[in-house]
């Protein structure tokens, strides 16, 4: 579904990502891991159009989406979450999730002002509430965004991303900032999302989560692809072990 081809990005004299290529299969959970400074976030930002690559391409179902703007990506069925959250703190939890369905509903201002979108809105509300329950934050249905904890907001963001009915979901360090039990819940959630047929690509530090849910893993080190394969082969790969733990002197 997603093909990354020879992506390279330099910032001044520093090459953050160098000639990285891989493919994400439809319906799979695909993870990008690597030690700190490996270039995971830069790679992620290259795929999501935040940065434009110095060279290389990103293809979605064969279409070139390199450097696409976020709203164009959304229209192509790609949703993403953010490591440090981008939640609209001026709205309620439910409204945040409803925002995710933006492309699936008519959003004209005049229609809105004349009260003609009442019924569509009611339907959106129900769907959003259902999504919130699905990601495990159903009890916060009537809460305002400012009243929610970091862990809950992270899951809320996923609900919002799912509201767009995406074919590809990009998760930016979903476990960052979460404690053990929250991470556990997040792992189960991602597994469930994948089981529902959504292709997932995540960037993550937490090894346990990655190993337990990923169908395919790409390991980056210092901007280059070090290894790729399933969980078993990657964790046994000596180069990967060296990159993380340092070689024995």
């Amino acid at each position: 579904m997603l093909a990354v081809q020879s992506l390279t990005r330099s910032f001044g004299g520093v090459t953050a990502v160098s000639d990285v290529s891989f493919e994400v299969q439809k319906g799979h959970v695909h993870a990008v891991i690597g030690p700190n400074g490996a270039g995971k976030t830069t790679l992620f930002n290259l795929i999501t159009g935040v940065y434009v690559p110095s060279s290389g391409k990103v293809l979605l179902d064969g279409q070139d989406i390199t450097g696409s703007s976020p709203d164009r990506l959304a229209r192509m069925g790609v949703s993403r979450t953010f490591q440090n959250l981008q939640v609209c703190m001026n709205m309620s939890a439910l409204e945040n999730v409803m925002l995710g369905a933006h492309l699936h509903v008519h959003s004209g201002l005049l229609t809105g002002m004349l009260g003609l979108s009442r019924r569509a809105d009611a339907r959106l509300q129900e769907e959003a509430a259902a999504l919130m329950a699905r990601v495990g934050v159903g009890e916060y249905r009537d809460a305002h965004a400012t009243q929610l904890s970091f862990g809950v907001l992270k899951r809320l963001e996923i609900a919002r991303a799912l509201a767009a009915k995406p074919k590809l979901l990009l998760l930016d360090e979903p476990a960052a900032g979460l404690n053990d039990s929250e991470t556990h819940a997040m792992t189960a959630l991602i597994r469930q999302i994948a089981a529902d047929g959504v292709t997932v690509l995540l960037v993550e530090h937490d090894m346990k989560m990655v190993m337990s849910i990923s169908d395919h893993i790409v390991v980056l080190d210092q901007g280059r692809k070090l290894a790729e394969g399933n969980a078993a082969s990657v964790s046994a790969n000596p180069d990967v072990i060296t990159a993380y733990l340092g070689s024995e002197e």
């Binding site: 703007s69 976020p70 959304a74 609209c88 409204e95 201002l109 809105g112």
Partner: protein, 310 residues
């Protein structure tokens, strides 16, 4: 069971119906009418500033364009006032669209400066183009007459102003809870998030600008007919700041907050005897203190307290 009409709208209608009975004399009635008319513009500005988070300190420009446009079309072209009002409102919409498209690409202070520039340019044109606008001496506005019925008495004007205000409230409340309104509020909350869910941020900002301009234009046109006389001071920077202060004080994004802000900041200067210097001190203080201690404005802060107490 959901009522077809929101309860708050019914309450608003009730208040508007009962209010004239509580107003002791013509002076207070006059103030009520002015409040209602300016509140329409403030509700519009609230859509731009409160919902979408785009600060405009040049909106008096649209108010004045509405007033002068209506007056000029009615006197020079002899069109019936109602038709003039609609024509001018549509013109303001087009003008807003033209102005907004380029400047809404700017962020934060740059946008604010551009809106200021707009207001200043309108002001300059009204002062200098004496042939068109009567210059600094202002111009007379013919009374409002619709289908032969002339709005002469205070009572007529109150009824009209109340109806127009109620409609503006209705439109704004509807917008708040609609997908479009949510898109606006979303882009205020986090532009990054808004883009990621597919919201065409630039387009929505322009549309909010247009809506706010149209409401300001209608407010201006009606005010012109009501006062019978308009001058370029209507488009002055201080007037734009007053409008912005009303939104900020009452509550950004709150429709009733906008009305409250309009009411408070029209009535207070009257109580102070309208001394220009003191008015400026008051407005300046209110702006600063509100943004420091009550950044959400009065109504949302109260709403938050109530929500927390529950």
């Amino acid at each position: 069971m959901k009522l077809p009409v929101r309860p708050s709208l019914l309450v608003a209608a009730a208040i508007l119906l009962v209010l004239p009975l509580a107003l002791p004399n013509n002076y207070t009635m006059d103030i009520a009418i002015r409040v209602a008319l300016v509140a329409v513009a403030v509700i519009g500005l609230n859509v731009l500033m409160g919902f979408a988070g785009q600060i405009s300190i040049g909106h008096a420009g649209f108010l004045a364009t509405g007033a002068y446009g209506s007056a000029i079309v009615a006197t020079r072209l002899g069109w019936p006032p109602l038709l003039s009002l609609v024509a001018v409102a549509l013109t303001c919409a087009a003008l807003a669209w033209l102005v907004a498209k380029p400047i809404l690409r700017l962020k934060g202070h740059s946008l604010t400066m551009a809106t200021l520039g707009f207001g200043v340019i309108v002001n300059m044109v009204l002062i200098n183009e004496v042939q068109l606008s009567g210059g600094p001496d202002g111009m007379v506005v013919p009374p409002l007459a619709v289908a032969g019925f002339s709005f002469g008495k205070l009572g007529h004007w109150y009824a009209l102003a109340a109806v127009v205000l109620w409609c503006a409230i209705w439109l704004s409340l509807n917008l708040y809870d609609s997908p479009g309104g949510r898109a606006l509020r979303g882009l205020h909350g986090s532009e990054v998030a808004a883009r990621v869910v597919g919201i065409d941020v630039a387009s929505f900002k322009v549309r909010a600008f247009v809506v706010s301009a149209v409401l300001a234009s209608v407010s201006g046109s009606l005010t012109g007919h009501y006062l019978g006389f308009i001058s370029p001071s209507m488009s002055a920077f201080t007037h734009s700041v007053e409008l912005a202060t009303m939104v900020v004080l009452g509550g950004m994004a709150s429709t009733f907050g906008a009305v409250l802000g309009a009411a408070l900041l029209t009535v207070l200067p009257q109580l102070l005897g309208g001394l220009h210097g003191y008015e400026a001190i008051l407005f300046g203080l209110i702006l600063m203190l509100t943004m420091i201690y009550l950044p959400r404005g009065i109504v949302p802060t109260l709403a938050l307290r109530l929500r927390r107490a529950r």
